[in-house]
Amino acid sequence: MSVAENQAAAGRGSARAVGILSSLGRFLVVAVTTYLGLLAVTFFIGRVIPIDPVLAVLGDRAPTAVVERTRREMGLDLPWIEQFYLYVKAALRGDFGTSVLTTNPVMSDIRRVFPATIELATLGTIIGAVIGVPLGVLAAVKRGSLIDQIARVVGLIGYSVPIFWLGLLGLVLFYAKLQWIAFPARLDVVYEYTFTPITGFYLLDAAIQGQWDVFHDAWRHIVLPAALLGYLSLAYISRMTRSFMLNELAQEYIVAARAKGLSETRIIWGHALRNAAVPMVTVIALSYANLLEGSVLTETVFSWPGIGLYITNSLQNADMNAVLGGTIAIGSVFIAINLLSDLLYRLLDPRTKIG
């Protein structure tokens, strides 16, 4: 009997390898169609909805010669399907046109502002996960207790509060009244000119260069917006953790772990959370993607020079190339995180029968 089982297990092993390949293939198909979808939607927004896309890009003060040239460059005399083909080709090269507002290529603008957003969203997610996961675990373990109620209220408010409003109130309290944090910007003006970033993540750059005064200043600027985004992600992460943990704690292997004489600590963190960790990875990734998006409003409130502020500034100046370029940038990262978390989920869980 064991021999047969051995063979069966070996067969399952190679089936798994084949499964991984086929799921990678499907992953690529999904990724390509989703990106094409994103480009189709932005194409639609940029070229189809406006009555005159050239005016939408250049504004109505542009000289006639420029308008005519741009019209030809955008291929507006071609059929739509051909226009879309050219559009996709340009987008793949990273060519989203030129920003009217900054007069730079949109892509170089995005490269410049994106690190600020990544830094903010990363710190926010770290805060959200570090507090949210234990909170969710405790709420599930002590279900119905005071801590469960607190977690519930914290989560509900996080789901219901307008973040930009909370940010404004935070500025009133922590900046104006208590003076714990610095004014809305990324760095004090003094440092803006003396500090040379390397990676674009100021906290990291300052630490690498050992400029602790800069680090401290950057920290005083980032702490409130990051804490706000962290709160949003905490609300989501703690709620999902609780629900995953309740599900795991009801499983038979938990009874078996108790029968083995393991301590509750070991059972909760070593068994239940390990099992919940697989879906948790997805949740944390999704929450990260949501924060990238949430940064649009937060950055506006805190004058944080990231992609969110770039998009809203461009919006207010009717700079369509920049708006759509920014949309594609956030959308691409968003989609990539979505897809990767899905793939990661399949790879992490030894149970998934891939394929």
């Binding site: 219901s160 104006a176 998006e293 968003f334």
Partner: protein
């Protein structure tokens, strides 16, 4: 009414042998209501929403001042007082009155988004689920693509192209919020598609159109209502966000998000201009969240504690 008649009515409602279709329906509604009303937070949520509707309906009676015309000369940026409960804004308008009228715009956005997005999702989901095959694959691929997009940023881009305004904001939010409804409707359709009573209707010669419309769509309604209610808070927040960025409601409309935006300039000295409308948004979205949670627990006991 005596205790006995109440008792006998309850028995009539809870009877396990209902004599009529009406009795069965009322009985089921009664059981759901008992489960719902046992949840105190859900009741609070419902009260908040009822209050919102009442305030919107009675705005003319409740608001002491005009929401759009202020006293520029004497009443600019006054702190909260007996005359102006929440103070006045930079144009001398009473903030309390603006919030009362703002309830109308909140309801307007929420209801319009729901009646645009939910039917789209319902149609896509039921057709995909009932037709199956290539129709299903293509419709669901499109749905998934929309699901994978960042909603707020996409809505932003749409409004940027359509031009700012509350109608365009509603449209943009609706375009980005139908995919989950399609998902739910499809899942429900798949569970009933092969059931015997659908087969019976098919045998009687009903057209696919009629089957989807009369026999499948009604079954998806209750889970759809739950999901829409849970999404309301998100819709309100997105609309307020668009308003805050100046892309939603335009001045002088008393929309809460736009009110926060106009209070932003005075936030450090006259904090109340932005504080009150934000609190209104928080309370109303909290209400929808509590109500949605309660509805889900009452109507859909399977989901349990999720």
């Amino acid at each position: 009414m005596s205790a006995e008649t109440i008792q006998s009515r309850r028995e009539w409602l809870l009877s396990d042998r209902p004599a009529s279709r009406l009795q069965a329906r009322l009985g089921r509604a009664y059981v759901a209501w008992r489960r719902f009303s046992a949840n105190r937070l859900a009741l609070v949520g419902m009260l908040i929403i009822i209050a919102l509707v009442a305030v919107a309906a009675l705005a003319d009676v409740l608001a002491p001042y005009s929401p759009t015309v202020g006293d520029l000369k004497n009443a600019r940026l006054l702190a909260p007082s007996a005359a102006h409960w929440f103070g006045t804004d930079d144009l001398g308008r009473d903030i309390y009155s603006r919030i009362v009228y703002g309830a109308r715009w909140t309801l307007y956005v929420v209801i319009l988004v729901a009646i645009i997005a939910a039917p789209i999702g319902l149609l896509v989901g039921t057709v995909a689920g009932y037709a199956g095959g290539w129709t299903d694959t293509i419709l669901m691929r499109v749905t998934d693509i929309f699901l994978a997009f960042p909603k707020l940023v996409l809505a932003l881009a749409f409004v940027a192209a359509l031009g700012p305004g509350i109608e365009n904001a509603v449209l943009a939010i609706a375009i980005t919020s139908w995919p989950p409804y399609a998902r739910i409707a499809r899942a429900e359709t798949l569970t009933v598609r092969n059931s015997d009573y659908i087969k019976a209707v098919q045998l009687m010669g009903a057209s696919p159109f009629r089957i989807v419309l009369r026999h499948i769509m009604p079954l998806c309604i209750s889970s759809l209502i739950i999901r829409v209610t849970l999404d309301m808070a998100g819709i309100i927040l997105t609309a307020a966000g668009l308003g805050f960025l100046g892309l939603g409601a335009q001045p002088p409309l008393p929309e809460w998000g736009a009110m926060i935006a106009s209070g932003r300039r005075f936030i450090l000295d006259q904090w109340w201009v932005a504080a009150a409308p934000g609190a209104a948004i928080l309370i109303v979205s909290l209400g929808f969240n509590l109500l949605g949670d309660g509805l889900r627990d009452a109507l859909d006991p399977r989901s349990g504690d999720q």
